[in-house]
């Protein structure tokens, strides 16, 4: 079993999550939309996950594309 570190980005609006996904895919990042993990928020919405190694670059890309997000979290998953 290997541990993988991910960055999970939370958004206010689920449409904001799609906006982020569209902007990051265009910028060449590998990202995935996931249901917002329960431990991060009780929200029923959508969150965005990418490799933790990309976290800073993703943050910069989101700011560059004027995509608003609520917070970024480090999540470790046993896969």
């Amino acid at each position: 079993m290997a541990e993988t570190e991910y960055a999970v980005v939370l958004f206010y609006s689920t449409q904001g999550a799609i906006k982020a996904e569209r902007a990051l895919l265009r910028a060449g990042f590998a990202v995935k939309l996931i249901p917002t993990p329960r431990q991060l928020s009780s929200d029923c919405g959508t969150a965005l996950r990418c490799a933790w190694a990309d976290a800073e670059a993703v943050q910069a890309a989101l700011e560059g594309a004027k995509v608003e997000y609520a917070s970024i979290h480090k999540v470790t998953v046993n896969e």
Binding site: S13, T14, Q15, R22, P35, S41, S42, D43, G45, K66
Partner: protein, 384 residues
Amino acid sequence: MIYFDNAATTWPKPPGVAEAVLNFVQHIGGSPGRSGHRLAVEANRVVYDTREALATLFGVADPLRIVFTANVTEALNLVLFGYLRPGDHVVTTSMEHNSVMRPLRYLQSLGVELTVVPCSSEGVLDAADVEKAIRPNTVLLAVNHASNAVGTIQPVADIGMIARQHGLLLLVDAAQTAGAYPIDMDQMHIDLLAFTGHKALFGPQGTGGLCLGERVELDRLRPLTRGGTGSQSELEEQPDFLPDKYESGTANGVGIAGLGAGVRFVLEQGIENIRQHEQMLTERLLAGLQDIPGVCVYGTRDARRQTACVSFNIKGIEPSDVALRLDEEYAILCRPGLHCAPAAHRTIGTYPRGTVRFGLSYFNSVEEVDAAIRAVRNIAMKKH
């Protein structure tokens, strides 16, 4: 069959619209923004992509500042009921559709002050008259971009300048122009752009929306409805961010999928090309109708100053009879009457009789225009 009722709703639609609707129903179908599974996410992407296409078309920097509604009527009601308070003053025009006029008349009965600026008998609004109507308590100018009764295009950019200079918001009813005439919210200083999806944007019926400019204070603009948004489910209060604040309840995913295809078609064809084609048809139709003895054409009669919506009457025949004969004898479909705009018909002098309205679209041809002119000539001649 010749379909000339595009000012009411466009038909046919570009082929991609039906395909997008079918694809959503058959293969996507999840609840946009509600669950995190792949079909819900895909549905949410479809909704976002339509927002993005609309943002490109109207020059909106952030697609999330576009909120979807059931039609332009709901978008207009959202602004009028959400923004105006008793004691506020609002300026509108005598060319408005009832979707602006009826909410405003009702709000007037609740204590909102209303000025209806008269337009010329050609339906033209003088921007200077709007400025003269402004009072210390004026908060909003609500203006029709183009008349659905006679097609007259109003000087919206000039009114936008006036709104800026006086610190007011400008609300534009773009039902007749969105998709048919270039609109840039920034350049025209439009703060609130209300559009309907089923006319020149070629979407299905039941789609529309509102673009919120950067100057709109969201704290002041109350939502028309509150409810589930798929976001902040832990809260019992309505979210205050966009677009969720103004989008409660499951979205019209099917319709919005079709609307996206319609808007992308407009972007691919190019709004300038669409306008050019419609203007050419309008010019031909105006000339042909005015050449018929006993036919009176209303509005500016200048294709450059109007949309592809042409209103006329035949002397001695009621508009409803003309429309019935056009349908039964020539398979030409149009709309007679007052077109939900009694104030506009008073302005151009056709109240209560109304007019016969030919609403053309990008999909109409020169041959169809010529056939319609011949049909009107025949009807007019038999009567004289």
